[in-house]
Amino acid sequence: MSVKYAYYPGCSLEKTQRGYDESVREVFAALGAELIEIDDWNCCGATVYMSVKETVSLAVSARNLALAEKMNLEILAPCSSCFTVLAKTNRVLNAIPEMHREVNEALAEGGLSYSGRTVVRHPLDVLMNDIGLDAIRAKQKRDLVGLKIAPYYGCQIVRPDKTFDDHENPILMDRLFHALGGETVYFPMKVRCCGGMLMTTFEETALKLNRDLLASATENEADIIVTTCPLCHFNLESYQDRINKRFGTKFTMPILYFTQLLGVALGISAGKLGLDSSFIPLGQRISSLTEATHV
């Protein structure tokens, strides 16, 4: 079975979150799925909601959907924010014909048009539902046994629409890492918000939200937090020292993308998975895994 997707990395995966981009590409290649990057994609427009009406932000986002439509493929969008914005564009365009017409009028200026039918997928969904656990386990090279994982889903991949997992208690990542031998700890904060852009606009509030997430994972003895979202990753990882300073805590929690940990299990080297880009030492457990000889 050869599967193909129109790959939409999104702006943060280009550089600051290169570990996510690199691990997604590696993991999909290892599992025999082909990712074709959408040529000349633009920003999904996550924060352009300040235009008078929504026409501008929807048109910006729809340009990508139109480009993917020409490729006749489903979009694979790893960034939770991109995923939700692209999906929301579909929802609005399909529900409000007037808006659809207006967005197409704008797209025509760029020689494009969009039907509203490009399907937007998240890698977690594709891995679990298209590729499947059996195919993943068939390629497994390392056992995650003994690794305690806090699976952090964040908000945007499970809300607002009914997507591929539960709103309140998503389980696909838990299932994935169980199947690979790991242990997912009790983590009641798995869909609690990290604050997103509040780190820029209301820093104190965002620091508290992330402190709570790190505290919950630490209390439940997780070795690592595994996430699906660049913004969650950035807040939890890059601001961890500031959280420690602000609240007098001593968190040293490594934050990994779920595709990085999956890549480790598939026997891909740490360098190829972008694990060298982490700010926080990965700790004995992950290091011994990445250095382990294949099972």
């Binding site: 000349d40 501008v56 200026e109 709103h167 852009m197």
Partner: protein, 228 residues
């Protein structure tokens, strides 16, 4: 809180009715937006919100105040700007009220109605974001953050230097923004979408000339465009 002029009960001030109309226009663009009428004031939204502790009005109160004809008070609140749009309220609302999208609409309405808000930094960030997008087609975090802190609080930018250094040593920092090939065509798309928005606004202006807020905005936008 105290209003200087006496207002007949049930009669809205001009500003209030104007803000209300702007907001209701926005609601039309939200699939399911009309369900705001179904709110039963149960407070599930407030209980679900991870940042309601830091709000001055809870999400439940926002809807109550909308019903009471207090749009201006809502738009002057901290609440609409601190919403991180995690959609916890929306998915839990037993009446299907699209609270997060309604809060987005309130942000836009506050901008459109030119309400002096408590969080101008959010608007600064948003307008810099669209500038960057127009110019390059993609977001370059470094450029956006540098411009944002230069405009708001430059000391915060200096506090980010250690972070910048870490990003650099882990090869996660692009010094300069890149431009997409189709930036000119994307710019045309954005311009056209803005024109369509203006057209909608102007149609309304002809329909209800007393709503000077729209006219004011149209003039403002046209001036901006001339300046470019």
């Amino acid at each position: 809180m105290a209003t200087a002029t006496y207002q007949l009960p049930g009669v809205m001030s001009k500003k209030e009715s104007e803000l209300r109309q702007i907001f209701l226009e926005q609601v039309k663009d939200i699939p399911g937006g009309e369900k705001i009428k179904r709110c039963i004031q149960c407070g599930t939204c407030t209980g679900s919100c991870p940042v309601s502790y830091a709000m001055d009005l809870s999400p439940r109160e926002v809807i109550a105040l909308f019903r009471a004809g207090e749009m201006e008070q809502i738009m002057k609140s901290r609440t609409i700007w601190i919403c991180a749009s995690c959609y916890a309220c929306t998915t839990r609302c037993p009446s299907g009220v699209k609270i997060t999208d309604l809060i987005y609409a309130l942000k836009r309405s506050a901008m459109e109605g030119r309400v002096k808000t408590v969080a101008p930094q959010v608007q600064t960030l948003a307008s810099l974001f669209i500038d960057t997008l127009m110019k390059y087609g993609r977001l370059h975090e470094g450029t956006l953050i540098r411009k944002f802190y230069t405009k708001t609080d430059v000391t915060k930018f200096f506090r980010l230097i250690p972070l910048g250094r870490k990003l650099w040593t882990t090869k996660r920092l692009a010094l300069f923004p890149k431009r997409i090939k189709g930036h000119a065509s994307l710019k045309r798309i954005i311009r056209k979408a803005q024109d369509i928005e203006m057209r909608n606004v102007q149609e309304k202006l002809e329909y209800s000339p007393e709503h000077v807020g729209y006219k004011g905005l149209a003039d403002h936008k046209l001036e901006q465009r001339k300046g470019e």
